[in-house]
Amino acid sequence: MIVAILTISLMAGLFGLILGYAAIRFKVEGNPIVDQIDALLPQTQCGQCTYPGCRPYAEAIANGEAPINQCPPGGQATIVALADLLDLEVLEPNEEHGEHHDIPLVAIIDEQTCIGCTLCIQACPVDAILGSAKHMHTVIADECTGCELCLPPCPVDCIDMVPIKQTIDDWKWSVPQQQQDLVHGQ
């Protein structure tokens, strides 16, 4: 009886030591969770989630302060990816924060109307607008994230959001028909 108790205790202690050592020896240096969340967000920096940019939202999610469905540009895909990462339930996108556009948008400044007030430049979160005071501004289309933050400050409403034109270079092969039925239909 005593031998059995001793043996078991000894084994328990031994395994405990091995496990403890393994935990130190093979520790996985993971990405801090905020970085991982931030990597999944679309980096539009639009603030529609009510946070001033993607990283603050990522921090809020990591701290459990914000649900994962407040990112309209990311849409359902981002929610699924976040749910997958954080082992949370997949939510419906929260419509209050805005609408998801399937085709990405890009801002374009009507150069005739622009008065060169620089307000849009100050609003742009990714420095994608060029120009100086009293001089016409222009958008660097490649850098524009389509966040729409430049729209409200413009005093003359000269900025429009237009869908990015599809060209031969970014044309995509479509999945055969049956596939679509299986995924979306039945």
Binding site: W173, S174, P176, Q177, Q186
Partner: protein, 346 residues
């Protein structure tokens, strides 16, 4: 929505599922004819009933699943599954036995997993094994070959029996265990082979009638190989592995242990190797994997026959091997072109 662009290749297909299934059915004919020759029309009644039930179940389930019924019935996969299932049954089986078995084959074996192409287990074997476990008496009531009993059960009698209109008792004298079963029972009692073989069911060569049926499966199997419906890997490895293991044990005790030839020609191993194990949906898909899969089946058949509770083991062996297929496939992937060739010239 954007217009769907159709991708190359623009060639008329050289194969079709339907063609493959018809090849299998043609391949089944020689063995089936031999079976009917030796054991009477009961076999045909089984096949007919099984095919009718299978098509009925298939159509009903396709309808329930909102799938196109006609095109799926036309691929003949249900006919092949039903035919193979029917060949596993004792030659005179009541209709409800066929119906229950086919029900399991089509519903549990096939459609619950998503239909053709998605089932991990051979549907015919699922149906057969369910019957074997649930209805041991019905599933072990086999009959003597006509030439031995000297009396054949007529077409109408057989039909009447199949539909429960005739009594089973009147044919008790004709019933007999299969050679494999007899061998297993008797050798289990340490009776030497020479004595066991006195029974007429073993005939002059291996097993009266059964050897010809097995020969029929072999001919059909060669047809499948010839038409490239199947590749050689699975049948060859199943037969080789069973024979090899059987040979090793036979040489260790030739008086009490059955010879490799007895194993090959007495039970269902030939139909199993050519027609059942080669079901593409449930078999391994790589050449290497098929070799592993075939050896596994051959090995399991011998183990089940020799030490298991059932006289024949092909159904269990196939189902067990089916279970291993994802693992086999994963570990037998071919080397992709250009992978790991650094520093290797030839």
């Amino acid at each position: 929505m954007t217009q769907v662009v159709i991708s190359s290749p623009f060639v008329s297909p050289s194969n079709s599922l339907r063609r493959l299934m018809i090849n299998v059915i043609i391949g089944l004919l020689p063995g089936t004819l031999a079976y009917v020759w030796f054991f009477g029309v009961g076999v045909l009644i089984n096949i007919t009933l099984a095919v009718i039930f299978a098509l009925g179940f298939e159509a009903a389930i396709l309808k329930l699943r909102n799938k196109p019924v006609k095109s799926h019935l036309n691929d003949y996969s249900a006919v092949v599954a039903a035919w193979l299932f029917a060949l596993c049954l004792p030659m005179h089986s009541p209709w409800w036995l066929v119906a229950v078995g086919i029900g399991f084959t089509m519903i549990a074996g096939k459609h619950l997993y998503g239909g053709l192409g998605f089932n991990p287990f051979n549907p015919a074997m699922v149906g057969y094994v369910v019957l074997l476990i649930s209805f041991p008496r019905e599933m072990t009531t086999w009959y003597l070959p006509i030439e031995i009993s000297g009396e054949s059960i007529g077409f109408f009698d057989a039909i009447a029996y199949a539909f429960g209109l005739a009594d089973i008792q009147q044919w008790d004298a004709l019933s007999s265990a299969t050679p494999l079963d007899q061998f297993k029972t008797l050798s289990g009692q340490n009776i030497p082979i020479s004595e066991i073989r006195q029974s007429p069911v073993f005939g002059n060569f291996i097993a009266f009638g059964w050897e010809w049926i097995a020969g029929g499966w072999l001919v059909g199997g060669l047809w499948l190989l010839y038409t490239r419906t199947i590749k050689w890997h699975i049948p060859v490895t199943v037969l080789v592995s069973t024979s090899f293991i059987a040979l090793v044990f036979y040489l260790s005790a030739p008086d009490t242990i059955a010879s490799p030839l007895f194993h090959l020609f007495s039970g269902s191993i030939l139909i199993g190797a050519f027609f059942i194990a080669t079901d593409p949906v449930t078999a391994a898909t790589t050449d290497k994997g098929r070799v592993v899969y075939g050896f596994l089946i051959g090995f399991l058949v011998y183990v089940i026959r020799s030490w298991g509770g059932y006289p024949d083991g092909i159904a269990f062996a196939v189902l067990l091997a089916n279970m291993c297929v994802p693992l086999i496939d994963y570990y037998t992937q071919p080397r992709v072109y250009g992978a790991d060739t650094q520093g290797k010239d030839e």
